[in-house]
Assembly symmetry: C2
Homo-oligomer: 84 residues x 2
């Protein structure tokens, strides 16, 4: 799905950010408690994180963007998914 703009190939990337193992996830807990109340059974291990979608010219910069702005490396893990 890459597109060409002025000779530069744009990479569509998706960054998934979630709380690290062991870090409190109050949003996830709230969802996990709310689902049974709405009649949905058998749901567990709910975690709520963020997703950032962006077009980049240089995909090798993505790691640094995550470290410096998109995630908080102290308490969050990130995963980069590129779609060509």
């Amino acid at each position: 799905m890459g597109s060409q703009v002025g000779g530069e190939a744009l990479v569509r990337a998706r960054v998934l950010i979630r709380p690290k193992e062991g870090i409190l996830d109050p949003q996830g807990q709230a969802v996990e408690r709310a689902l049974p109340a709405l009649g949905f059974q058998g749901v567990s291990h709910v975690h709520v994180g963020r997703m950032v979608e962006l077009d980049v010219e240089d995909a090798s910069q993505l790691d640094q963007m995550c470290e410096q702005l998109l995630s908080n490396p102290l308490i969050e893990d990130y995963e980069i998914v590129e779609s060509a």
Copy 2:
């Protein structure tokens, strides 16, 4: 990556939620403005959304969970990604 618990196959699912086309995305705009200030050039079309990860026994309920709790269908689109 499905696991068996008491004979029930658990499905690990990931729900990606993003603002609909045309809905204001102030977080995305903030990231798009901040990246060049940090020295990252050539970044565009930044959108910030949410990600919910969860284990479910019955994956067919996921759509309804998204409609009722996980997303706001008026202003957000969602995408369900299952990992077996």
